[in-house]
């Protein structure tokens, strides 16, 4: 089996590109603000982490508008690279516009976006669309890594993007999953999630391909896991069993003991049940050992099909910097989060960095990244 490396990573978050986002997280910034994109005036707390320039598209496709700057000048992607597209709700703009009597969008189905990206980057290799709800880009990275490890591809590009839409906002609001105050992952009084705009693109390569292309080995993707709670379609298993399985799969694949893990990037949606489930899973896998953990969604919101890739890119920065950023809003962690999550930056020692996401359908996925 070939070793798999992350060789390039780009994001666009409500705080900017990868460098600006990283600096913003270290500075304790949050992009939360009132929604101007659509009328949500009759819903409680219409707040999200949005990119204001996406509010003024006048009929342009919002996912394309987000992907264009993300992919601009993206080089050293071989034409035979596998492309995995993980945006999950790109079609809702078409649905909304047709329902309002408009002509809709030329791009609506997932494969339309995948084909458009392949054309834009002149990729002639295989393409794949993957939808695993909020786990999509995490599972997309795992699938791409599996195909590289099996020798089916030398290079793969995983791209995801989702934007805050009226469709998704009203849906999460109807489930009463949105915060009515502020998104505060792992806070003792957290009360819900905040949606966000984001896009991500990460390239994975085997060692030989990375060397041939002159690409740096930003991190080794040494293990991954995907597992299901087998419990409920929208609520996580209270005992965290699916996440425990996914984390243990990733550790086992890498041959890493729990003690070899230096840090953890949590899904941390700030819903009462999700964050409690993650803490239960951490207890099950790591016992009472405390190490630096963080979550991004108080600052950047939850970007659905893009969020796993976005957080993997942040983990690359954390590994390089030897630090994990603070978790915005976590100034009063719940008891089991004490010594793990805090609002300020924490040093990251030697060892691997785990990142995981959990989502509707009982899905969980985890990636183990190590310094190359």
């Amino acid at each position: 089996m070939s070793a798999v490396y992350i060789t390039q990573a780009r994001i666009i978050s409500p705080l900017g590109g990868l460098e600006e986002t990283w600096v913003g997280l270290l500075a304790g910034k949050s992009a939360a603000g009132p929604i101007a994109r659509f009328n949500a005036s009759r819903l409680a707390c219409p707040v999200a982490a949005t990119l204001p320039w996406l509010d003024r598209l006048e009929g342009r496709n919002s996912i394309q508008a987000l992907l264009e700057p993300l992919l601009e000048g993206f080089e050293r992607i071989p034409s035979d690279s596998l492309l995995v597209w993980t945006g999950i709700k790109g079609g809702v703009q078409d649905v909304e516009e047709r329902a309002a009597g408009g002509a809709g969008q030329a791009l609506s189905l997932a494969r339309h976006y995948r084909l458009w990206i392949q054309s834009r980057l002149r990729l002639k290799g295989e393409g794949q669309e993957l939808n695993a709800a909020c786990v999509s880009s995490t599972a997309g990275l795992a699938l791409a890594a599996a195909r590289i490890a099996a020798g089916e591809a030398g290079s793969a590009l995983v791209v995801g993007a989702d934007v805050v839409s009226r469709f998704t906002f009203t849906g999460f609001s109807s489930l009463r999953a949105l915060t009515s105050s502020a998104c505060r992952p792992f806070h003792a009084q957290r009360d819900g999630l905040m949606l966000g705009d984001a896009a991500c693109a990460l390239q994975l390569c085997d060692g030989g391909t990375a060397d041939r292309l002159g690409l740096p080995r930003l991190a080794r993707l040494s293990g991954w896991g995907i597992a299901n709670d087998a419990n409920h379609i929208t609520g996580p298993a209270r005992d965290g069993r699916g996440l425990v399985l996914a984390l243990r799969q990733a550790l086992d694949q890498a041959g890493a003991a729990p003690d070899a893990i230096a840090g953890f990037c949590a899904h941390g949606t700030a819903t009462a049940y999700n964050d409690a489930m993650e803490l239960t899973a951490l207890d099950a896998v790591f016992g009472q050992r405390r190490f630096p953990c963080f979550g991004s969604k108080g600052s950047l919101g939850h970007s659905l099909g893009a969020v796993g890739g976005l957080e993997a890119a942040l983990c690359l920065k954390a590994l390089a910097a030897g630090a994990v950023p603070g978790t915005w809003g976590c100034d009063q962690p719940e008891e089991r989060a004490l010594g793990r999550f805090m609002a300020s930056t924490q040093p990251l020692g030697p060892g691997g960095l785990l990142t995981s996401n959990s989502g509707f359908g009982g899905l969980n996925a985890a990636l183990l990244m190590e310094r190359a």
Partner: protein, 224 residues
Amino acid sequence: MRPVHLTGACWISGGAWGGLRHGGPPGFVPGKAPLPALEGAFPKPLARWGRFDDFTRLGCAAAGLALKDAGFSALQEPGTGMVVGSRYETLRTDREFNASSLPEGGMLASPNLFSYTLPVIVLGECAAGFNLTGPAFCVGEEGGQGLQALRAALLMLDSGKARRMIAGWIESPPGDQAAGAVCAILEMEPADLARSAGLLTGPAPHFRPQGGGERLVRSLSDLF
């Protein structure tokens, strides 16, 4: 890639259905799927069946009947996953959900319909109903009726992330196009080798039936 046993399968379409061990070969035609003979397909009643959208109902029925075809009434041990392919995914449900909220202000959106605007919900319903704890995700299909799902399922088995996978295809498209579903049960080491209908190898899937011969698989229908 290590060979994998095909131990059960089911297809459902407008007015007809079948499995490896009964019924004819798949034929996907327009019309309401019969969702037939579900007795015994589910180890326990699916409590939310009445809430399911058509996409989820088709997928759960095909998965349950395929498991039954493979000889399972319930899965006790962990490590079974499910990958489903689709082209239109939940587009019909997306449109229904979008119409459920008031145009101004966003109120009255249906929480039940919103859940089913994600194609992975069928995986969650199957996982809860059949105790599927392995890898689960949906993939896009161009026209292969489950080919991408089959490839991904074989990869999950070969990489050691699952001992058994359900590879599926579900289509519940808008308009008058044919709806249907296929599910196949793939096992690395079946407890009863007599249940094996043949061996699959990847990454470009080939099927070698017990009766001999070998053929390239272009869709899940090629397994019948």
